[in-house]
Subunit: 567 residues, 2 copies
């Protein structure tokens, strides 16, 4: 171990661990490891990398932080409204500290859970965070450990829960020294982003512990209320207890130990209900997973796009199936995947799914970072927001979505290695050639400008037309809060009538009905029980009700309530 | 397509399949395919490769065979005694036809199910069969399709069920043209034996169908009663419906369609009860799996071996745990695997496991093909047989085990490609260096002599000491048939008392007790209820019973019955 000018030999224990009695290591002291003569390398469990991924680690005594959130408990997922944000672009300064200044707006909007995109130390000063390599260290450019704790503490003080996005399927390409310390990786499986993690081979107990301890740390030492686990389909583990099931059990144990509620949410491309089913029936026991099918079906209906994976969607019937069954691809043939895909989610609560109109991936993975608001009319955007916020799923917004921010969310990196930077740029530019884009139309991820353009412009919030969009979202969240029927996760109680040709759809959620005209002309739409219904919220005022039908202007949506019931 | 001198172009359908109206193809006609100008290659679904893996395919009309097994139904797995045999070495001639001549001995012994090691066409004339490449074609050297049907028909006429070993995790290295026809393989996963099969990527529907149709063919066209699926741990499939679950559903459908009972038995290294759990609780729904833990714990106790995977075993307590819990590694740390392994099989029936003292792998994967009878005394061998045949698992014998055949079962191949042959030989010889063997001590797998030495010598059967060993097995199977308690799969009803130091063990299976002295000296062993017990069978006659104890000679076993109950 190197520590200042000191170099100290470590001793190998019988169990194979290298250990050291190091009284000189204390809060704020920098250190690093040499392995087999190479290095110095940062500590794989480094709590802080003030000089980035290649620099020394700085010891952090978590007990030094004074929390002010005693007694804090997050609201349950079933009543949550999640807000996904990227620390670096959420505010002009792009730090944990500056994020605190905008919590008031989120609370005003009705957000209950903030979800931070990955904060673990990654190469350079700018990035989405999915190429983190020091998984225990909050990024130095965001404000390090102290900054993150302050942000979480501030959220809790204001009644906001905090979820953290963690990446356990691979490590980033730069500064990834983990493999120098042990058999953390394997060639038995491949991931699109780097070596697969050894979750099931020799010594995988320790590898699993490395990741499970990481989850424990965020929940225990940073008071996170839950984790969003990136791309679990790339966590290949054939052992009898899949790492995700193990992780869920570890987190459940910690929940009991600490007496606080935690949730685990997976990003999954598998359409496999096993991930969110209880372990008693063979599931992994996670709380929820992102509902890609809902996003894709809604996006395709609103935009008419049919490129890439959107070719599997586009019908109102797909959207209706998502709303009442959770998954569209529940064993159905996927033309995009060129195989049958998924299995039925029957019996699962809608609260096992997070539904959104956009997220960092769906915006940022587009050629020029277009938000939905850049693709469709404001009316359609309002329809999309309303369907997300009245659906049986846990709704999620992506930063700036609530006011239809004009800023894009581009793909940006800051790799210090010029070769890697050039490769990332070239890869990014090549990615969209098949979709008709020329390489020079694609923003260079390595350019700082690409990052700066992606920052939210909070001044928009008070200006037309952004203010109206913000109010629309606020009103929708208000309705969701007011009517338990809108938070009801029982998908079997969500029924949808539609006419594919005439382009209308009526979703019933208990006493609340959501009537939606996607056609470019006004029309009368069948809607049972209008005689006893009152309008709660509408995109347009020129709405008329007659017996069992409703008149809707073009591209409009109206939310009605059965007036015989109490709301 | 090539057919004799004829070369006919095929047409590509809209769905991407190449098709041909070929009235000239009929029973017995040879043909082959050219792909993109290369070939000719055999049909991937060839029913017969009379000239081996590189030759043309011969069309077989399965309807031409006249079956005489109308109304046949196999006995249930719970009352089965399985006999694993390798067609090439089971008889001097090594054919399906010559195997028929020995069925009488199997019936006399009490066997109910014959299990054939893989018969699908593999490279050359000799081999275990796990490197098959024409998965639909019974090996030409064994007698092809007609020969196999005759064998199955003969078994059924004599009341014997037939299981077939199939390999769906990889294809062999020689004659493997499958990848020329479509995306059957993937680099996303790796297997120790060759490219992994594409069970979950693009076009995997068709790949899954290729293997599932293969299973259907053996059951439907060859009247197999079930399949043993090789090394399912190497079938990596992360899709929402694992191929094994899909396969089990397909076979269940066929069972209903044809009105015959089928079973699927997995070879699994995963210790994952999911494989044999019903799909209703998240399982794959297979009927049973080989119980490696039972084999290893029994083998290690009898032989004292502690090399390789046997280092994880050796205690009587391990054997006792296997007998009453199914799995020894049910989440316990495995020193051999260097990680925790498995999960509890609680709630499963013992009939979900096949238990054996030896099988082709455990014998043949030893340096010089030693059977258990080459490693331990006859008394210990008898103890081993008795524990297999009184355990709650479905018992299985390996050909010749019933008379402690003196012939080894060596690893043999017949690759025609000299480079491949040399590589296989070198690989085989290198494999045992770490276990103290010199390369020239390892029989050359490519030498015909290695194959010939592995053939059973049936003349041994009538000779001492083989005759006595045969009678011992026959008597044990007779007991298992006579006492339902011995066929009871409820592991929770199997209790085991033992003394690790004194080397004794008493297993109770309802009214039947199995008392076993593994020490080299005689001893009195605690055995509840001896006053009311009578001896059913014993390795030695010098047994004495007193109140709640039994006197057993060295290395002996006695089976007792509670005389208050009816047997």
């Amino acid at each position: 171990m190197d520590c200042g000018d000191r170099r100290v030999n470590m001793a190998k224990s019988a169990a194979g661990w290298w250990t050291l009695d190091a009284p000189f290591i204390d809060h704020g002291v920098d250190y690093a490891f040499r392995v087999d003569g190479d290095g110095p390398f940062p500590d794989p469990r480094s709590a802080w990398q003030p000089q980035g991924v290649h620099g020394p680690s700085r010891w952090v005594d978590h007990a030094r932080f004074t929390w002010s959130d005693a007694g804090w408990q997050p609201p349950p997922l079933g009543s949550a409204v999640i807000y996904e944000l990227h620390v670096g672009t959420f505010t002009p300064k792009g730090t944990f500290q500056s994020a605190i200044e905008r919590l008031g707006e989120l609370i005003d909007l009705g957000v209950t859970h903030v979800e931070l995109m990955p904060v673990a130390e990654f190469s350079g000063n700018r990035g989405w965070g999915y190429d983190g390599v020091d998984l225990y260290a909050p990024h130095h450019a965001y404000g390090g450990p102290e900054g993150l704790k302050r942000l979480v503490d501030a959220c809790h003080r204001r009644g906001l829960a905090v979820l953290l996005d963690v990446v356990y399927n691979h490590l980033g390409p730069a500064g990834n020294y983990l493999g120098r310390f042990g058999p953390y990786f394997t060639d038995r499986y491949a991931t699109p982003w780097g070596q697969a993690v050894n979750f099931d081979g020799p010594f995988s107990d320790e590898v699993r512990r490395f990741f499970a301890d990481n989850a424990r740390m965020w929940l225990r030492d940073y008071h996170m209320d839950g984790l969003r686990i990136d791309a679990v389909h790339a966590i290949v583990d054939t052992s009898a207890i899949h790492f995700l099931e193990h992780l869920a059990a570890v987190v459940k144990d910690l929940e009991t130990e600490l007496g606080r509620h935690f949730v685990l949410i997976a990003e999954s491309d598998l359409n496999d209900p096993r991930i969110v089913s209880p372990s008693e029936v063979g599931g992994y026991g996670l709380d929820a997973q992102w509902n890609e099918d809902f996003h894709h079906s809604l996006h395709a209906v609103l935009t008419g796009e049919n490129d890439g994976y959107y070719r599997d969607f586009g019908k109102l019937a797909d959207l209706a199936k998502a709303l009442s069954n959770g998954l569209v691809y529940d064993g159905r043939y996927s033309a995009h995947r060129r195989r049958h895909h998924g299995r039925s989610a029957a019996g699962l609560s809608g609260h096992r799914f997070v539904g959104c109109l956009q997220n960092h991936d769906q915006v940022g993975n587009r050629a020029v970072g277009h938000r939905t608001s850049h693709l469709v009319s404001q009316d359609r955007l309002k329809i999309g927001a309303a369907l997300v916020l009245t659906a049986p799923f846990v709704p999620m917004l992506f930063q700036g979505e609530e006011w239809a921010a004009s800023t894009p969310f581009l793909y940006f990196t800051d790799h210090q290695d010029p070769e890697l930077g050039a490769a990332v740029k070239a890869g990014r530019q090549a990615e969209f050639v098949d979709f008709g884009w020329k390489p020079d139309q694609i923003p260079d991820p390595q350019e700082e400008e690409t990052f700066l353009r992606s920052k939210l412009d909070w001044d928009e919030l008070g200006r037309a037309p952004h203010d109206a969009m913000y109010e629309w979202h606020r009103a929708l969240i208000g309705l969701r809060r007011r009517f338990p029927a809108l938070r009801d996760g029982r998908m079997e109680r969500t029924t949808v009538d539609l006419d594919e040709e005439a382009r209308w759809l009526v979703m019933r959620r208990g006493e609340v009905s959501v009537a939606c005209n996607l056609a470019e002309a006004s029309q009368w739409i069948p809607c049972r029980g209008t005689a006893d219904q009152t309008i709660l919220l509408a995109t347009h005022s020129a709405v008329a009700l007659e017996n069992d039908k409703i008149f809707l202007p073009p591209e409009s949506l109206t939310i009605l309530k059965d007036s015989k019931n109490q709301g």
